[in-house]
Each structure stands twice: as C-alpha cells, then as structure tokens.
C-alpha cells in the first residue's frame, strides 16, 4: 500500500468531480433511504438526549411542518420516546447548513456528479432572521417553509427542468474570483445563481407576482447559493471517499454537540468525534460569546472540498470576522496548504497569483504539524429559535484526527 498514491487518487476524484445542479425535488422521492418519520440532521449521528438547543428546535419545527406533531410539546415528547428516527444527512448523500434538518416532504436541490455519477442533496436556504436551521419553529417560520416548498421550490424545479442544469464547479470558480470564499461569503455566487436562474424562472412561472416574489427572495438572500454549493462540495467529497489506503478527510461536520470527521480510506459510517468547540468571532448587537452554541452545521463540507476558510486569501472582505486584516486572510490560506495534499485545479485565487486552493486535508499532516483545519462559520444562539448571533472561525479538535490516525494504523496494520 502506498498512502501517497491512494491520496493522489482520492484528491483527483475530488477535484475532477463535476457537480451539476440538475433540479429540485421532494426529499422522499430522491434521497436514498428517506422515509416519513426520518429526520436528517447536520453532523455526525446523535440521539435526541444529546442534541443542542438549535438542533432540537429545528427537529421540532420539521415535525410540525410535516404534521407529525401538533405542538412543540407533542413533538418533543415523541422525539424523546423514540417515535421518530434521526440520522446524519451524510449517510444519505445530503448536507444542510446549521441544524441541517431535512424531512421527507421538503424540497431539496439535486446535484449530480457528471464525472462519477454520484448524487447529492441539500435543502433550500431560508434567508436570515428566525429560520428553521437555527432552531426557530414559530408559525412565520413554518409559513415561509411552506411557501418555499409550494412556490419557490416548484419554480426552481420547473426552471431547472427547462435547463441543462447549472455547472456548480464553474459557478464556484467564478465566485472565488469575485470575493467569495464559498462558505461565509456567498454574495457573488448568489448573484451569479440569480443571473442563471432569472431567465429560466421568467420562462416557467406564468404569474408575474409569483415571479417577482421568487426572484426577490433569491436576490435578497446572499446565502441563496450556499445550499447548492454545499451539495456540490458533498458530491465532490463523496467521490473521494472509499479510496483504500487514503488518509484524506472526506467529511467534516458538526451537529451542535459533536464535531465529526470521516476519512477516505476508512469506513463509510466510521466517524471520529469529539465535543464541538464554540466559534470565536464577531457578534451582532446585544449578543456575546456567552450566547454562542457549540459549532453546528454541515457547511464545513466547503472546507473539506478546498474552499471556505481554506480560500480566505480570495475573500479579504470577510477576514474581519475574526478581527483580522487582508494579510491574515493570505496567511489563513497559506496555513491550510500545510495540511492539504494538493492544490485545486479548478478553484484558483487571483491574490495568490491564481494558485489553486488548498485541497484534500491529510490527517497525517494535521497530526504531524498540530494544525487543524480552519472553518469559517456562522454562530448560532444556544437557545432554539433565536437564530444567528454572529460569525467567526472555528477549528475541529485535534483529537479526532489523532483517533483517525490510530484507526487507520489499525486497519492497515501499520
């Protein structure tokens, strides 16, 4: 076994994956293993008893949305009694930001990897304020979800059906040249997304008022493209998973309680977890570090695929989230080259003379140098339903990489 050869194979599969946004469909119709009483969530698998506030809130909201429960109390007690099932999005080819809760009736983006044929899924982005992904489940949250399912989702589904799909790899590459890093900053990408969708939506939506409403919703939300970007990254990293002998990380995800990673050369459902840390960053008015929930969300799939915090050099506008300067943005990316196996062939950064983004986290390098991946993230309030309270930086615990290294050595009898 040659680890370097295996890693070359894994990162090449990651980079050469060609994620195309093919459509929007109902989760139960497209997500493998999806069923009516199953609720997918972000991060590694977790039982109800250990779930944090925002994740519980999102589960309750989704149960209300599905009509499985009639009230918060009923939903909570059903969950407690084990009357509904939970599973990690990642076991079903799916990803979702923050709580990442996805239920059977929800509309999801369908991304297909044209190179290797695997599919990935992500829910639709709700925008800012009180939203399900931060654990809010009030009536206006549910009302917006229903509108998204019945109006926005249908318009997107029809629009995409009228196209050949949207090449997400090309979109991300372009957005990186426009100041996005693809995780915390998706302003440019969302506008590109709107630009591509607008003519299609105009073609398929007959009602002018609905068309205006849909375009307004997509355009107002600078995170519109985050979910398809995450699904694209998921399609890429899934393509890199399962390469025998590879030490490349194929998943980094958090459920608000635990941070988990998976490694290409190890098992499909073999997670290495440790308590998630609380992100450090800037807070909205009236909030402080004390309000922050431990790290949550599948959005670290962007860093796993070589963008987000790894591409900070191309997004100096947001480096101030951690009180930094454009120089720090450069250094952030340079630091991530230390622990990655390759440089992206497709995602480049003008500020580094079009060098490819650091791609393919190698657990060997993480452990050897003691440098953990840098993840840009939104910060959720620790109580369900309050929403986003800030944004900043978080790193996974070093221990999970050490555990993965030990497991790797055991599996391969090193």
């Amino acid at each position: 076994m040659d680890i370097d050869n295996a890693n070359t194979t894994a990162v090449n599969r990651l980079m050469e994956a060609r994620p195309i946004l093919k459509g929007v469909a109902t989760a139960r119709d497209v997500i493998p293993g999806m069923k009516d009483n199953l609720f997918l969530h972000a991060g590694p698998p977790i039982e109800w008893a250990r779930m944090s506030g925002p994740l519980r809130g999102a589960i309750i909201g989704a149960m209300l949305f599905e009509g499985i429960a009639k009230s918060e109390a009923e939903a909570a007690s059903m969950a407690e009694r084990g009357e509904v099932e939970f599973d990690s999005c990642h076991h079903h080819g799916a990803v979702g930001p923050m709580a990442g809760v996805t239920s059977a009736s929800m509309k999801v983006y369908v991304v297909e990897n044209a190179e290797h044929g695997n599919k990935s899924f992500s829910n639709l982005n709700e925008g800012y304020g009180k939203v399900l992904r931060y654990g809010a489940y009030s009536e206006d949250v549910l009302k917006r979800l229903r509108w998204m399912n019945d109006v926005l989702g249908v318009a997107l589904a029809d629009a995409l059906a009228a196209s050949n799909g949207i090449d997400m790899r090309a979109l991300i590459a372009e957005a990186l040249h426009m100041g996005d890093e693809g995780h915390n900053r998706n302003k440019a990408g969302s506008l590109l997304f709107l630009k591509l969708l607008a003519p299609l939506i105009a073609k398929v939506v007959k009602d002018d008022a609905v068309e205006s409403e849909v375009l307004q919703f997509i355009g107002d939300n600078a995170l519109s493209v985050l979910n398809p970007v995450m699904a694209a990254c998921k399609a890429m990293t899934d393509a890199a998973h399962g390469v025998e002998g590879s030490t490349i990380v194929t998943t980094m995800a958090r459920n608000g309680t635990d941070f988990g990673i998976r490694v290409s050369g190890l098992g499909e459902k073999q997670w290495f977890t440790a308590p998630a840390e609380i992100p450090v960053g800037l807070f909205f008015s009236g909030f402080s570090q004390a309000d922050a929930n431990p790290d949550i969300g599948d959005s670290a799939i962007t860093e796993t695929a070589g963008i987000g915090g790894f591409a900070m050099a191309t997004a100096p506008a947001i480096v101030t989230f951690v009180g930094g300067t454009p120089k720090d943005a450069m250094n952030a990316t340079l630091e991530m080259y230390e622990i990655t196996f390759a440089e992206s062939k497709f995602f480049t950064m003008p500020s580094l003379d079009f060098r490819g983004t650091p791609t393919g986290i190698d657990i060997r390098k993480v452990v050897e140098l003691g440098i953990t991946p840098r993840i840009n993230t939104g910060i959720a309030h620790k109580n369900a339903g309050v929403g986003q309270v800030g944004a900043g930086l978080v790193r996974p615990p070093l221990k999970i990489f050490e555990d993965a290294l030990v497991a790797f050595a055991e599996k391969y009898q090193l």
Partner: protein, 572 residues
C-alpha cells in the same frame, strides 16, 4: 443608572463586518455597557430593539448608519461616540498588506514559498535533525546541518543519499560555511575572492577565512563538512564532494583544506583527491604530521594562519608533469635507514596501505621482512638483514637479489632505491646496479603482454646522496643511472613528491557532481531551527524563509511513531 446616546449618519454605508468590528471597539471603551452599530434597516432596528438599544424617537432608515451607545454616564457615552471615527480609521491603517511574512510550519510549505531556495539550514534538536535533513534532501536541497547529537549511522546514510543526488550535507555539527558570499551559521564577513575552503572545523574555517580577508584576498566558497566527516566511518564524503566542486568552480583558484586530525586512510584519499584537483591546495590537518612542505600542487601548512598565508601568497609555480599514473605498487629498497624512514613518512599520506620493516605506526609493520606486500619500504640496513653480511652501502648483493625478487612480482610498478656515496661506501654502486636494472627491464618486457607500454612496465627511481667531491664521481654515477632510464633525485623530499604524483591512490566511489550553478546563484535558503540564523541571512541580503518548526505531533511520541511508520511505508 445607564444612559443611551445615539448618532445617525445619513447615507453612510458600511459593510456589516466593518460595523461589527466598530461595535466591538466601542464595547472596549471605558464605561460602555453595550453598543449597537448597524445600518438602520427594519431588521436591524428590530434586533436593536430586542436588546433595548433602539432609542424611541430615532429617525433613521435603511441608508443611514445608526450608532447607539449605552454607558454608565453621559461623559462615557459621549466620549465613546466621539471615538467612532478614530475607531473606523484605526482599522484602515492596520490593513496595510504585507503578504510575505507568513511563517510556514513545514519544509514542504517553505519550499513552495521560496522555490529558488537551494539550501536548508537545520538547527533543531539533534534527535529530530536527521529527519529534517532527510526531508530537505528528498526535496532536492543542500543541507547545512548545525545540529549536533546526530548519530553516526544517520550521518553516513544522509551523506550517502546526498552524494547520490549531487547534494551537500554540511555537518552535523557544522558551525560555519560561506556560500557565494553569504555566511551560514557562524561566519565572518569576508570579501568575495578566489580562495575556496573545505573545512571540517568551524572555528578553523573562521580563523582561516578571516585571515585571508585581512591579508587582502577573498573567499569564493567555504564549505563545511562537520567534524566527523574525516573519520574512517564517514570517509570524508562531504569533503570529497566539496573538493570536486571547488576544482570545477572557475572562480576558485586556490583551495584550502582544514581538518582536525583525520583518520590516516581518509587523509590519504583526500590528499589524492586534492592532487587530482589540478589546483593549488593548501592542506592543514591539525596535529597530523605533514608528509612534506610541498608535493606538486599541494602545500602543507603548520598553522591556521600559515594556511591562510600560503593560500594568499604561496609560490604556486606549478609544473606538474602528469604521465600516465602507475596503478601497481611501490617497493622501496633503502640502504639508509633514515632515508627509508623519511620516505615512509612522506608517502604514508598518499599511498595506502603501505608497509615497512621499520614502520612509523604499528599497523605498517611488515610481518615478514623478506616478503613485500602492497606498497613497501624496506630498510636493508636493518639488523635483520645484517647477520653475517656487510652493510648494503658497501655490499650491493642483498639489494640486487631483492630487486630481482620485487621485479618478478607483476604487481610492482616502481622500484625506489637510494645510492649513498662518500667515504666508506661502495666505489661504484651505479656500475653494479645498472646492469641488473637493464636485465630486469628486458626480462619484464619479454614476459609482458606487448600491448602494455613501457611506462606501465616497471619504473626505477633513485635518490642519490653525495657531493661532487666524493670519490665515486657523483655526476658519473647519476649519468649511468639516467642512461639506464632511472629517474634520479638528489633529496628524499623530491623523490617523495615525485612518487606521490605518480601513483593513483584515489579509490573514490561514484560521486554525482554538485551542480555548480546552485552555488553561484544568489543565495536563498530555508531556515529550520535557530531564528538568529534566519535574521543573519536577511541582514546579509539573502532571501530566506524561516520555518516555525515544532517536533512532529508536538512531541506526542505515540503519534510521531505512527507517522514515522506511515512514512516508511511510503518508501517501500
């Protein structure tokens, strides 16, 4: 009791991130309990209201910047609002970008940052140093290995790897080098010049290079080897590479070779290599008896300062007649004991192994005086031969028989002998020896394969000691010998020099030449370890990157062991 003060800046847009930063700045001011800074959009106003930061009668809309401060008293609140501009400005001034101060943590990242670097300076703790050096070699870089406590096995394996790749490993425990005008480690500032130095001693190299500078000359390159390079186990791998490189370097006109006492076999090999450079070489093996003051292109110094002086001022009128070198053995048949001894002393540095019945060191002892082996110097006046016999200065019989015996050995390429004239000696030694020499020659020619040239046959060299007043007629003796093809010298020193130059002693294994262009490029280096070495490189105008090095897995031995296994797996 707190007070709330606010300010509206109409039509002023700031990115929310800038404003969050400003807000944090305000919160850090004395007496400030809370602060809110935001564009006054409906959503932001709701947020402020929820946190009791929205003044009731404020009139601001989406295009306006709203700044609210809650403080202990009026003074604090007003002071805080008064500092908004300063806080906004302060952020900007700290934004001046300098993109080149990233400190990599690994050698591979450093190489990407400074790809033109050909050198890696390693000064990490000894038990990690070999690993870092090995990585540097894998990346195709020369290594300046300052660290000590590197095992001998590691040193040998590193140097063998380096030799195959045409790379230098200077060290371990190498204190000093000067490459293309830039000092590595501890080095004096000396001018560029035409003197190259190979130094197995750091302070020795400093003393010599400084003295050369003070004498008005300069240094092309000073290549360190580390103190153990000249031990038998290592075999002077780096010193040989360095000599070879300096020999090929056009800028280097004179070479100085300095070492603490080398192993005798290593010294022999290096002297041969130094001869092979074809350039003037000053050798100072501290504490090692110099074989001569001068042998061909070599001069032997007796102090560091003299080494420098010879390099700068040495009389280097060289006429080295390089006939085809002799590849077989020397046999020296002396009637004079001291002549034999001085010859052995002079030749032991360049001919190895060499034996004698009158050895200088015990390992030179010839077990059976009647049977020569390898290079041999025989004192025929030794008691062993004297039993019932006249001294060989009077009676040539023993020497003639021994000459025939040696000539019958096809491995012998040269016979060296002395002819001591004067009162009491044989009246015509040449007259007795010359017919024998002719006879031996003819016999040898008959038995040899015709393709072999005469030069490769058997060469006779004589040292004739005498004066023109001696009864034997000095000139006639010399003429007789020369007519018979004997190479004649008047002193043992000259004979030693000649003999040294006639033999090939270098048994150097294959050596990939060091790429001279890499030595001549403006020096760019990666420093791993002592930060002062990095500062010193920069202050000398060299390009350098400093690696923020930590032990693998931050010293977690279990993890480090696993990583090492995974690395060795890779090599399999």
């Amino acid at each position: 009791m707190t007070v709330v003060k606010w300010e509206v800046r109409a039509g002023t847009y700031y990115d929310s991130v800038v404003l969050m930063q400003l807000q944090r700045g305000l919160l850090g001011l004395p007496g400030v309990a809370d602060a809110g800074v935001a564009m006054a959009t409906p959503a932001n106003k709701d947020l402020l209201a929820a946190n009791h930061l929205l003044p009731e009668n404020v009139n601001a809309n989406s295009d306006d910047l709203l700044i609210v401060v809650k403080a202990e008293n009026d003074q604090s609140a007003n002071d805080a609002i008064g500092q908004v501009d300063e806080l906004l400005l302060r952020r900007k001034s700290s934004n001046s970008p300098n993109f080149f101060d990233f400190r990599p943590r690994s050698l591979s990242a450093a190489v990407k940052q400074l790809p033109e670097a050909n050198w890696v300076l390693v000064s990490v703790p000894g038990r990690y140093a070999a690993g870092v050096a090995r990585e540097a070699l894998d990346l195709g870089k020369h290594v300046f290995l300052y660290s000590d406590n590197v095992s001998l096995e590691d040193e040998i394996s590193l140097k063998k790897t380096a030799r195959e790749k045409g790379l230098l490993v200077m060290g371990p425990d190498c204190g000093t080098a000067i490459i293309n005008g830039i000092g590595l480690g501890f080095a004096n500032r000396v001018r560029r010049g035409s003197i190259g130095v190979v130094g197995a001693s750091g302070t020795g190299t400093q003393a010599v290079t400084a003295h050369i500078h003070n004498l008005g000359a300069g240094i092309s390159h000073a290549i360190g080897t580390g103190g153990r390079d000249l031990k038998s186990d290592v075999g002077a791998i780096t010193a040989h590479q360095a000599l070879d490189a300096l020999a090929r370097d056009d800028e280097t006109k004179v070479i100085v070779l300095i070492s603490k006492p080398p192993s005798p076999d290593v010294a022999t090999g290096l002297i041969a290599a130094a001869q092979g450079t074809g350039k003037p070489v000053v050798i100072y093996f501290i504490g090692y008896p110099p074989p001569a003051r001068k042998i061909g292109n070599l001069q032997f110094a007796i102090s560091l300062s003299e080494a420098a002086e010879l390099a700068v001022n040495g009389n280097w009128e060289l006429v080295i007649e390089r006939k085809l070198p002799i590849t077989n053995y020397l046999r020296g048949l002396f009637s004079g004991g001291t002549l034999a001894y001085e010859t052995l002393l002079g030749l032991q540095a360049s001919l190895s192994p060499i034996y004698s019945n009158a050895p200088i060191t015990t390992n030179q002892l010839l077990e059976d005086p009647l049977r020569s082996r390898a290079h041999t110097i025989i004192d025929l006046g030794d008691e062993f031969f004297m039993v019932g016999r006249l001294h060989p200065m009077i009676d040539n019989d023993l020497r003639i028989r021994r000459m025939k015996q040696e000539a019958a050995d096809s491995e012998v390429g040269m016979i060296l002998f002395d002819v001591v004239l004067g009162e009491g000696s044989h009246p015509d030694p040449a007259g007795e020896l010359v017919p024998v020499i002719r006879e031996i020659r003819e016999k040898r020619l008959e038995t040899r394969e015709p393709a072999l040239s005469r030069v490769e046959g058997l060469e006779f060299v004589a040292v004739v000691i005498g004066t023109d007043d001696d009864p034997q007629n000095l000139q006639a003796q010399i003429d007789q010998l020369r007519e018979a093809g004997v190479v004649v010298f008047r002193t043992a020193t000259e004979a030693v020099e000649y003999v040294s130059l006639r033999f090939v002693t270098s048994k150097q294994s294959y050596l990939t030449p060091v790429n001279l262009d890499q030595l001549k490029q403006p020096l760019a280096a990666i420093n791993v370890g002592l930060e002062s070495f990095y500062d010193s490189l920069l202050s000398q105008g060299a390009q350098a990157v400093h690696v923020e090095w930590k032990p693998p897995a931050s010293g977690n031995e279990k993890m480090a062991a696993l990583l090492a296994k995974m690395k060795s797996k890779k090599e399999n």
